[in-house]
């Protein structure tokens, strides 16, 4: 079985995350970049299949600038067999729509039995790319699973929502996303770290993707979650109207208890829809 796991390099949530106000894009120099934790969980699901059946092939795929290779190396050190890096200057600043088109085209090139991804990235938090990929490939999407059981030819999983629990299943091939409630990711061991360098990473340019409908570079607007300083503002179809810095937090209101504090507190919580 061939499992492709989609991974994204994102700014470390433990550090300050900033947008470049002139381009509207992520400021990648503001902090360290890491593999999105949610993708590590998706990879864990794949690696457990491989633990049980060594013939399983796990491929990690990312789209991003040069530095995104590091995210692939981390995934390879955890146990993935090979990496695919969709790398092309013309994709800098790509929005979710274009990203999904490129990933879908990449998946057609690599082939797969099942695609695993996180349900939403910790930076852009769009949560739509896997669904768009599924649309491009005309495959079923099993989104936001808390657990997934992958067997030859089928995937079953559990989706927990506020309204209840759904047991879902699909025949393969299919696209599956997992939430942060899914399996905790393993650490790479020392051997994994040392062998990651020797594992193959294929680079795919837009030309290699052949197809496809990657959206027109002439459309206006910068990508919402696009990458790279100096990213071209014409490459996405999402239009960013403006970007402003988050306003500094003002001091809150203090309630002094003169006997009515409980009522005032309750009113505050209700008025702000916090209860």
């Amino acid at each position: 079985m061939k499992i492709v796991v989609l991974v994204k390099q994102v700014p470390d949530t433990a550090e300050e995350r900033k947008l470049d106000l002139t381009t509207g894009l992520l400021d990648r120099d503001a902090g360290d970049s890491v593999v999105d934790e949610i993708n590590e969980r998706a990879l864990e699901v794949a690696l457990r299949v491989k633990d049980a059946n060594k013939s399983t092939e796990v491929v990690v795929m990312t789209m991003g600038p040069d530095g995104a290779t590091q995210a692939l190396r981390k995934a390879l050190s955890m146990g993935a067999d090979s990496g695919v890096h969709i790398l092309d200057d013309s994709l800098a600043g790509a929005d979710t729509k274009r990203t999904a088109a490129a990933l879908a085209a990449g998946l057609k090139v690599t082939g797969f039995d099942i695609v695993l991804a996180g349900n939403e990235s910790t930076d852009g938090r769009g949560g739509v790319v896997p669904a768009m990929v599924a649309e491009h490939l005309a495959l079923p999407l099993l989104g936001s699973l808390v657990s997934a059981e992958i067997t030859e030819g089928a995937v079953r999983g559990v989706r927990q929502g506020e309204g209840g629990t759904l047991n879902v299943h699909a025949a393969l091939p299919a696209i599956v996303t997992v939430t942060e409630s899914s399996a905790e990711a393993r650490f790479p061991n020392f051997k994994g770290i040392l062998t990651a360098k020797r594992k193959p990473v294929t680079t795919l340019s837009v030309a290699d993707l052949g197809s496809a409908d990657l959206g027109s570079a002439e459309l206006g607007g910068a990508g919402l979650t696009g990458f790279g300083p100096g990213a071209d503002a014409r490459v996405g179809s999402t239009v960013i109207v403006s970007t402003t810095e988050r306003t500094a937090r003002a001091a809150g209101r203090k309630i002094v208890d003169d006997g009515t504090a409980a009522t005032e507190l309750a009113e505050f919580l209700v008025a702000n829809r916090l209860v």
Partner: protein, 378 residues
């Protein structure tokens, strides 16, 4: 030599992530309750920490001594006690892998490198510490067995370990009459003293190991009869820089806490870090640690290379880094004022843990003896 490779950065990052989740949140509780976290050690074993610089043939990670000191420093930032036990375990596994025959290595190294079984290093005795060559535990040959009698003192991991690497006397010829023997925990006649009450290092057990007519197959002997003292000393070269690295990690954690505290705490109309006298303290602590770190890396490089001055450099590094780690931790406690003395702030534990690093793996006085003798040797 001093620039970390990409692999080293990735390994240190992994250790930091692992220790940040599995060790540091629990370390105060383990210290308070004297809990030896065998399950966490097993987890460390799956990540390759049970045989860091042990060859890959039987399950070691095959890393360099330089890699090892970076790893131990990072582990010790989370908990010097756990890092130090892992260092002792590694010393034992390396000795078995380096001096054992193929059968011994195949039998013992895989379970030790994975930390499914833990190792204990048994050299010191109640009456023989710094003068280790005077040890008196007897191993008397009887057919295909050695019969062991005697007591080992201050043994880390005792009672929990699966294998005891015992230096025992097989002949009355001083250091040349000592033999290294691997004793599995399940043998008849092997027993342990009570867990010692200690100043620090509470998260690992320290007990006497007592041998009463313990029959050990001759096949468990490491190397030739009479070669045990040399094996024990070779193990200690690595042990010394690893414990040195553990002191660096503890000291660095104390320094980091101090910097954060001085930036936040205000007195006399400003933050403490704005007082130059205290800033100078930080400068001295940082400099002392970096000086020691530089020497530890130099010694590790010499050990990797098999350089002629390895023993000298390892002894110097052990002495300098364990003194530096303790001094920095003690200064950090002072900088925290009354809070430094409270267990809740974590400083006093680092001071208690690092104090013993100046005593064990060869006391710092023995380090000076080694360096001094080599300096004046003709």
């Amino acid at each position: 030599m001093f620039e970390r490779t990409e692999d080293q950065q990735a390994m240190v990052a992994m250790v930091r992530d692992f220790a940040g989740g599995a060790i540091s949140p629990h370390s105060a509780y383990w210290d308070e309750t004297k809990h030896f976290p065998v399950d966490v050690l097993r987890e460390a074993g799956t990540l390759g920490m049970g045989g860091i610089y042990v060859s890959e043939e039987y399950g070691g990670s095959g890393l360099t001594r330089t890699d090892a000191v970076l790893i131990f420093e990072e582990l010790a930032k989370a908990d010097p006690t756990i890092a130090a036990y892992i260092s002792i375990h590694n010393m034992v596994v390396w000795m078995i892998d380096a001096f054992g025959n193929a059968v011994q290595r195949a039998n013992w190294v895989p379970q030790l490198a994975s930390m499914e079984a833990l190792g204990s290093y048994c050299l010191t005795e109640p009456g023989a510490g710094s003068d280790a060559a005077a040890l008196s535990t007897q191993a008397v040959r009887d057919g295909d067995d050695y019969v062991l009698n005697g007591t080992k003192q201050f043994i880390s991991g005792a009672g929990a370990a699966g294998f005891y690497l015992v230096m025992a006397r097989t002949a009355d010829t001083g250091s040349h009459g000592i033999t290294a023997i691997v004793v599995p925990a399940n043998l008849q006649g092997l027993s342990f003293g009570p867990n010692e009450k200690k100043m620090g290092w509470n998260a690992q057990p320290t007990r006497q190991v007592i041998f009463e007519d313990v029959r050990v197959p001759v096949a468990n002997r490491l190397g030739a009869e009479g070669s045990g003292f040399g094996i024990a000393m070779k193990g200690l070269n690595g042990g010394r820089i690893n414990i040195a690295a553990c002191s660096l990690g503890g000291g660095q954690a104390a320094l980091d806490k101090s910097i954060a505290y001085l930036k936040e705490r205000t007195a006399f109309g400003g933050t403490l870090i704005s007082k130059q006298a205290l800033l100078f303290e930080i400068a001295d602590m940082d400099t002392e640690l970096e000086t020691a770190r530089t020497l530890v890396l130099r010694a590790a490089e010499a050990l990797d290379r098999g350089a002629a001055d390895t023993v000298r450099l390892c002894a110097m590094a052990k002495r300098v880094a364990t003194d530096a780690g303790f001094n920095v931790a003690n200064k950090a406690l002072q900088l925290h004022g009354g809070y430094g003395y409270l267990a809740e702030y974590g400083l006093e534990k680092i001071v208690r843990d690092l104090r013993v690093h100046q005593i064990l793996e060869g006391s710092n006085e023995i380090m000076r003896l080694i360096v001094g003798r080599l300096a004046v040797e003709d």
